[in-house]
Each structure stands twice: as C-alpha cells, then as structure tokens.
Subunit: 185 residues, 2 copies
Amino acid sequence: MPKQWNRDPIQAAYDLWVDKGWDDTADGMIAVTSLLRVHQLLMARADEILAPVELSFARYEVLVVLYFNEDAVPLSYLAKALQLHQASVTNLVNKLEKQGYLERRAHPTDRRVTLAQATRTGRARTRTAIRRLNSELYPQLGLTAEEARALVSIFAKMRHAWGDTPEDGGTDAAGALLHVAQSPA
Amino acid sequence: MPKQWNRDPIQAAYDLWVDKGWDDTADGMIAVTSLLRVHQLLMARADEILAPVELSFARYEVLVVLYFNEDAVPLSYLAKALQLHQASVTNLVNKLEKQGYLERRAHPTDRRVTLAQATRTGRARTRTAIRRLNSELYPQLGLTAEEARALVSIFAKMRHAWGDTPEDGGTDAAGALLHVAQSPA
DNA sequence: TCAATACCGTTTGAAGCCAAAGCATCGGCG
DNA sequence: CGCCGATGCTTTGGCTTCAAACGGTATTGA
C-alpha cells in the first residue's frame, strides 16, 4: 500500500461507515475515533514534557492534588480526586515515594488509613512540572480560547449525559478528575 | 471531606488555576482535563458494550480493519492503520488468534511478513460488535449531530496543529487510527 | 556474488490501569 | 463486651501500551 495513506484516515472511516449505510451513526463514530487519537497524541506530548522532571502524567496528577493540599491526605482521597482505582493509587504512591516526592504517614486516630504528603522536593518538582505544562502544553493545543471553551462545554454536556456531574444524581460519580482544593480532613 | 464534592471538579480546577494567577492557561488546562475524563468514561462504556462479544475495544479495532479487508493483511499494516506499536499488534493478534477470530498466514513471497485474516466467526463477531456500538455507543454520546461535528472539527484542528494529518508533512504520521478501507497489497 | 542495510515480527521488560481477594481496623448494635 | 458488616490499603494477576533488543529475511550496491 504505497501511497494510499494520503487521505485523512478519519475521513476515510467516515466514508466507509456511510458506504455501509450507517450514515446515522457515522458522526458519532468519528467523534469517538478522533477523541481516541487526540488523547493518544496528548498523552504522548504530556509525558514528553514531563520526562525531564521524571514524572509521568499519572504521577503528576497525584502530585498536583498534594500540591494543593498543605496537609497529608488519605490515599482514598486521592483515589476519589483522581477517579482512580485504589490499587492504581497504591502503585503511583509507591513510585512517588521511591522517588522521594512524597511520604506516607500514619493517620493519627484511624490506623486503617495511610496518609500521603508531598515532600519539599516533591513540591518543587510539582511547581516545575506545572510551569512546563503551563508553557508547553496547555497553551499549545492549536486552539483559540473560544475553541477550547467550546470543547470544554461539549465535554461537559457529554459528562452530564452520562451522569458524571455532581448535581445530577451522580451518586458516587461525584469524584473529581484532579486538582481538588478542598481539605480532605 | 463529607460533601465538598458537590461542585464540578473540573470547574474547581479551573478556579484553582485562576487563583494561582494562571488565567491564561486555565482554559487549555480544563480542556485537557475534560478530555481525559471523557476518554475514561468512553472507554469504560465501550468495553462494557463489547464485553458480551468477548472483545475489548482494542481488539475490536483490529477486527474492524480486517473486516474491511477481504484479503489477509500484514501485521505491519495493522500497526500503521491503528497507530499502534508492532509489539502491541503482536499481542492483540495473539489474543484474537486464541479466540479463533483470526488466523495467521504466511506471505506467499516475502517470508518476513505474517498475514492476518479474519475467520468466519471473527467476521460474524465483528458484525455484532459494530451493530452494538452503532446502537449503544455512537448515537448515545449525548450530543446533537451538530455538536458531534463541531467536536470532530476541533479535533481535526488539533491534529493538524500537531502534524497528524497526511497533507502537512506528517511524514510517517500518515498512519490511520482505524477503519481503513484500502487494500494493503 | 556478497556484504551492508533495511525491514518484519517476536520477545522481554517496564509502566499504567483495573478487578478481586486478602488483611487489618473501625463502628455500630445487640 | 463482643460480633459483624463496612472501610482502607495492599497484593496478585490480567490486560494494554510502549521501548529496546533479537533473529530471520529481503534488498541494495559495491
């Protein structure tokens, strides 16, 4: 297949769907497909930007939550804040602890819970990481401010439709993606 | 933190960014954050829909490419079409072969290449999978057709800005996400 | 012809995610 | 008081992804 790759593959997929008579779902299909591709590119870029700080985006998110919490927070809080599985949090915290970016502490009264708190160097790393993303990723999406806002609002609609917002009965879907300011204790 | 989760966490993140004086990047930040969240929800939903067919979304994509190619295709072609690492393809093909949804064949002339071809049951599974996604995912994004198209066009702009489209010097970024119609041989 | 180069697929190892199971601890209720 | 369900974390195992290294095969060019 020498040069058949000249067309935008997503457009090609759209045409395929239409050819099969699935016109009605073709728009949704390429919306999903595009999203997956952009997600892939975005994560690759983010990890690239964070590599010099020795952080993956996943670990960066953990540090950001800690950064905005002066006090130590329970691991379960991180899981809720980042919408991650408990096991994933344990994993990330292990790694970050090994890197010296955070410390585990015991909860003063409840011996079940493990607290995590960023170290001095962890906070410094986080500041650097945020600065890098603020200069090399977030403003470099190739979008105008209006387009970025349109994107966010469309996403908000999708999340709302799926019950992912606090207001509409998202019982335990109330968790956050990241960057939560409120104190957990 | 009993009920502090009442606000939309993405909006909370936005406010945090603004409080820190990073107003200029706050839009980009929540755009990225929203995208990650939607991606997470989307994949969870897709896997849920495909579970009864014993397919993950990743394996589904492989089958779709084969579905639109009557003949056997090289694994390298799958890697390009799906924008995956060779090793990932090997992995997925192993799994699909074990499931009996595809077969490996030898290339008639080039002994380096391994070809993959969907089996009868593989094709049947694919049809079912497509039908399920066409009825339960693609039309259920919570978006109007116009919004879906707006989404696609914004994504296209981002991909373009990152050199992910065939036209603009995307040397080897010309690969597809999925659903490629053209014959490989 | 034959050596250097390019290409293809697999293997191995690391990272991340999740689900389920296991273990310890807490809290409530009889 | 003491049991028992709920809660918090870790462990184990599977899946998916990539990167790097390896071995086999084709192609090119001297």
